[in-house]
Symmetry: C2
Subunit: 357 residues, 2 copies
Amino acid sequence: MSEPELSPAVVVGAGLIGASIGRALTVAGVEVHLTDRVPSHAVVAATIGAGTTDPVDPADVRLVVVAVPPAALVRVVAKTLRTYPNATVTDVGSVKSKVLDELWEIDGLDLGRYVGSHPMAGTQHTGPLTASPTLFTDRTWVIAPHRASSPDATADVRRLAEVCGATIVTFDVADHDRAVATVSHVPYIMSVLTAGQLLDHTAEDLRLAGPGVRDVTRVAASDPGLWRQIIAANAGAVRVELEQISARLGELLADLDDEEAVERILAEGRDGTRVLPGKHGLAPADFGQVVVELPDTPGSLSRLFRDVDALGVNVEDLDIDHDPVRQVGYLAISVVWDQVEELTRRIREAGWTVRGG
Amino acid sequence: MSEPELSPAVVVGAGLIGASIGRALTVAGVEVHLTDRVPSHAVVAATIGAGTTDPVDPADVRLVVVAVPPAALVRVVAKTLRTYPNATVTDVGSVKSKVLDELWEIDGLDLGRYVGSHPMAGTQHTGPLTASPTLFTDRTWVIAPHRASSPDATADVRRLAEVCGATIVTFDVADHDRAVATVSHVPYIMSVLTAGQLLDHTAEDLRLAGPGVRDVTRVAASDPGLWRQIIAANAGAVRVELEQISARLGELLADLDDEEAVERILAEGRDGTRVLPGKHGLAPADFGQVVVELPDTPGSLSRLFRDVDALGVNVEDLDIDHDPVRQVGYLAISVVWDQVEELTRRIREAGWTVRGG
């Protein structure tokens, strides 16, 4: 796929997202110029095929992708619109409204050339060395045009997402921010509030922790320095959601001695887990688990999967639960319900200890 | 290990926990008599080696294990103390204070023979068919004697936990309940409140969901009918924790526009995740991840682990992230940091696509 219409392009910010986009554009035949606040990052990204650090005539540039931290977005997008007078400019920030509102307040910007976007892909790694041209393949890429975005600029950003192999979804700016508040920012904050409570407890108390609290608090381990920027950028939508949760928590506290009322709130949460799309559109309830005891030594997983493989079942999901004391783990293998019984029987025949045996 | 001192024993409630204890005691040579509100459950448990449904002379019984749902505990423990006049009685409920307080209010009970306990083991499966004599092997088993528990009764319950192969921890009743509120009941409620927010959103919005919200909301999928009993039984400790969280949430809402203040709260959550004991006492930070693309077909896991095995690395943890659209998954393999680079290189050499490539 050759994309002369997007060439030459500039990627501002050579981290995981910027360098991955640079690599995908380069593969598609686009001439990519990389810049970064830290020049050595751009050099590193260039060495892994994300583009070049050579200068480019600003007037020639067709597309600029701004891939910088949330707090820098407004400044860099504004500067970019001025520096590259003929380019479509997009950003890859995870929040859209606030940046747009602040851009509107800046005099003399040609905002017709700006279309925000939000590629939904891995953020657990950072830096250009983890960049991949397939990072966005079949991932959701939100395009969020605003009222003044030109059709040409919107088409350019669609083309960018297509070149990266992503699945395109168009969102209204405010709708996008409300949605990510619910499915990302607020769950992170709830995880943080839960994890914060652990600090008051002794190591003895924490020995009683099981897999539930580990799941709930996992995302709270992420970088507070990045998250403060995301939350600041989406404070409006986050506030609305948190106020609803705060009210619900107040209700729960008021009704804590009323088992029926408590169960209604618990059942709502259970129902909420059922509307989340499962793997390939299947609900989690479509799978059953076979829990196998696993000696914690090199090779045990390999032997187990050789045996599972011989049965021709399709493993839908895996979860390892390590015993914090004993040197074993429990591997929960999720398969469609029809296969649970046979998998259990045949795994046992192969000499493994299956929970429930 | 033969345990004539605990023989004959009665297990009341032939679900996963009761039947597993019955099997462990039977293996140790204890004569076990099973009862259940639903007689057929006891019969099923007997057929898998958890004991017998034959009658026993109540005066002979040495130990009674009460393994019934939380709401039935007080009634069944009280009845059991009267029915078996010479037996030590324990329960396996996940909350201890409220049951004890209510037992004290019942006239004429010989509470010296009662010692509460709480074996920490799998509750994701239910029913006797999933019972295993090794369910408690090396798992934590909390013993929570009260001020009137006799030393002999406490020793009997210790012996029970030993026979089941568990690691014994002694807790004060109130301390236990505070600890499980923090590490289990409150994380579940936070998961429920987060999941409940999803109900207000469209399927389009929920397409933006990533692994974070799935982790946070996973435990909210559990049975509200069981959880309402657990929360009712531990309402005091749960209330204290939830009020602290509610206050913290109020602070966060008040300070939402103050990035420094927000970051302080986020950093506390991050610190909280670091005090949770990791696998075998290692902190999560001791591991790095290698993320491998995995075709979603039978056999791919087997082939991958054969290759991983050939390298002799010890897989510390696994996490599958399925792309909801594309027919591939990403398997995150956690290994000690020293092995990340070599594993990445050699997995690539074996023909796999590693994220970051």
